[in-house]
Amino acid sequence: MNIIDARGMSCPQPVLMTKNALKTSPELVQILVDNETAKGNIERYLSHEGFSVEFKIQGDDILVMGQK
C-alpha cells in the first residue's frame, strides 16, 4: 500500500492526487498531508465518494486514511 505524499502541495493538488490514486486503488487510500485545509478537503472528497475516513497524527503531519 503506497502512501501518497501530498505535504506542501497547494490547493487543490492534495485532492487531485487522491482522486488519481483511486484509479489504481479504488478501495483503500492513504494520503499524508501537513495542514488542516488539505485534511478537510480530502475528507470531504472521500466521504462524498463513499469512503469512511480516519486520521492519524504523525508529528507535524496528518495521515488521512480512506476505506470503502
Binding site: G8, L16, H48
Partner: protein, 354 residues
C-alpha cells in the same frame, strides 16, 4: 453539513459587512476589494503616484491579522514556503494587472453584481473561462511543487509588516500618501474598517473561503462547498444593497467600473487563470500569508508590485474605460500565464527529463 452551514454563515457576514463598509464611507460596491485595496496601499507607500488611489486600507491589515490570530489560537499557524516563489510573485503581478483591467478582485466582482452592476457578468464569464483554463493544466499535472517547513520567524514577518503599517496609519506618518479626492479618499473610519477586516479574516481562515476555489472545485470534483460561500456573499450583499437603497441595475454609469465588455471579460480571465495556478484568490492569499504561508506572502508582494506597475505604466482602467497599454499588457500576460501553465505541467517536465 455543519461545514457547509459555517461557510454560508461566513459568506453572509462578508456580504453584510461589505455593504456596511460602503455605508460607513468606502467607495460604492467596494466594501472589500483586495486588488483595489492592495493598489491603494501600493500608492499609500508611494510605489505609484496615481493621486486618486492612495490609502493604507485597514481592511487588508485586519484580514491578515485576523487570520494570524485565529491560526495561532488554533495551533494552525505553520511557517512554510519554497514552492516556486518567484513564479508566484510574477503570477501575483499578472493577477493584479487582470483585476485592474476589470476594476476589482474576484470578491469585488461578486459585490459589483450584488450592487446591480451587470458588467460584472462579463467579468464572471471571463473568470470562469480563466479558471477552466487553469483546471485543464491542473489535470495535466500542473504544480508549482512542494513547499517546505521554514523557521517561524519567516512566517511572522508578513503579519509583522501589517502591524507596522497599522501603527504608521494610526500615527498619521507624514511620509504616507493619502488621496484627497477619488476612490482613495473614500473610506470607512479606521477602527470600523479594521474590525470588519479582523472579523472576515477570522471567518475566512476558519472556513477556507475562496473566490476561485468555488468554481474550480465544482468543475474538478462537483464539490459545492466553496461555491456556497460565493453565493452567500452575492445574496446577502444584494439584500443589503436593496435595503439601503444602493441597488442600481444596469451596465451604464456604474461606480468605479467601465462598460467595455470584452476587456472586462479578458481582465478576469487573466485574474482567474492566475489565481487557480496560485491555489487561491487574492483574499485567500492574504489569509494564507497570515497563517504563515510565505509563498502566499510572496504572491501578495507580487500583487503590490503589479499594482504599482499597472498605475505607473498606465495599464489600469478607469471609469472611462480600459487603456491601450492595459489591453496589450493583459494579452501579453495571458500568453505568459499559458507558458507558465504548460512549463510546470507533467508533459513538459517529462520531456525535459527525457
Amino acid at each position: 453539513m455543519k461545514e457547509k452551514r459555517s461557510i454560508i454563515f461566513a459568506g453572509a457576514i462578508v456580504g453584510i459587512l461589505s455593504v456596511l463598509l460602503v455605508y460607513f464611507g468606502n467607495p460604492a460596491n467596494m466594501g472589500f476589494c483586495i486588488a483595489c485595496f492592495l493598489r491603494d496601499i501600493a500608492g499609500g507607500i508611494g510605489l505609484h503616484r496615481a493621486a486618486v488611489v492612495q490609502y493604507i486600507r485597514p481592511e487588508v491589515i485586519g484580514l491578515v491579522l485576523g487570520a494570524f490570530l485565529v491560526s495561532l489560537k488554533n495551533k494552525e499557524f505553520k511557517t512554510n514556503g519554497g514552492s516556486s516563489p518567484f513564479t508566484r510573485f510574477f503570477l501575483g503581478a499578472m493577477v493584479m494587472i487582470g483585476a485592474l483591467m476589470f476594476l476589482g478582485c474576484p470578491l469585488r466582482m461578486v459585490l459589483r453584481l450584488a450592487g446591480g452592476d451587470l458588467n460584472a457578468l462579463l467579468g464572471i464569464g471571463g473568470y470562469a473561462v480563466g479558471i477552466l483554463s487553469g483546471v485543464l493544466f491542473l489535470n495535466k499535472g500542473f504544480s508549482l511543487k512542494r513547499s517546505y517547513k521554514m523557521p517561524s520567524v519567516e512566517g511572522y514577518i508578513f503579519p509583522g509588516i501589517n502591524l507596522g503599517l497599522l501603527i504608521l496609519l494610526l500615527a498619521g506618518a507624514g511620509f504616507l500618501f493619502f488621496s484627497t479626492e477619488g476612490p482613495g479618499s473614500m473610506h470607512a473610519p479606521i477602527w470600523i474598517a479594521l474590525g470588519a477586516g479582523l472579523i472576515v479574516g477570522w471567518l475566512a481562515q476558519r472556513t477556507r473561503l475562496c473566490m476561485v476555489g468555488g468554481i474550480r472545485d465544482m468543475i474538478l470534483f462537483r464539490d459545492s462547498h466553496l461555491i456556497s460561500g460565493f453565493i452567500a456573499i452575492l445574496f446577502f450583499a444584494f439584500a443589503g444593497n436593496v435595503l439601503l437603497g444602493y441597488f442600481n441595475l444596469g451596465f451604464a454609469d456604474q461606480p468605479i467600473a467601465h462598460s467595455d465588455g470584452l476587456w472586462n471579460f479578458m481582465g478576469m480571465l487573466l485574474a482567474g487563470w492566475g489565481s487557480v495556478l496560485l491555489g487561491g484568490c487574492p483574499m485567500r492569499q492574504l489569509i494564507l500569508a497570515g497563517e504563515g504561508n510565505t509563498d502566499s506572502a510572496v504572491s501578495v508582494m507580487g500583487m503590490v508590485a503589479g499594482a504599482a506597475i499597472a498605475h505607473n505604466f498606465g495599464l489600469a482602467s478607469s471609469g472611462a474605460g480600459p487603456t491601450a497599454n492595459g489591453q496589450i499588457a493583459v494579452l501579453i500576460s495571458i500568453v505568459l500565464v499559458a507558458i507558465i501553465s504548460a512549463a510546470n505541467s507533467d508533459f513538459a517536465i517529462r520531456r525535459a527529463e527525457a
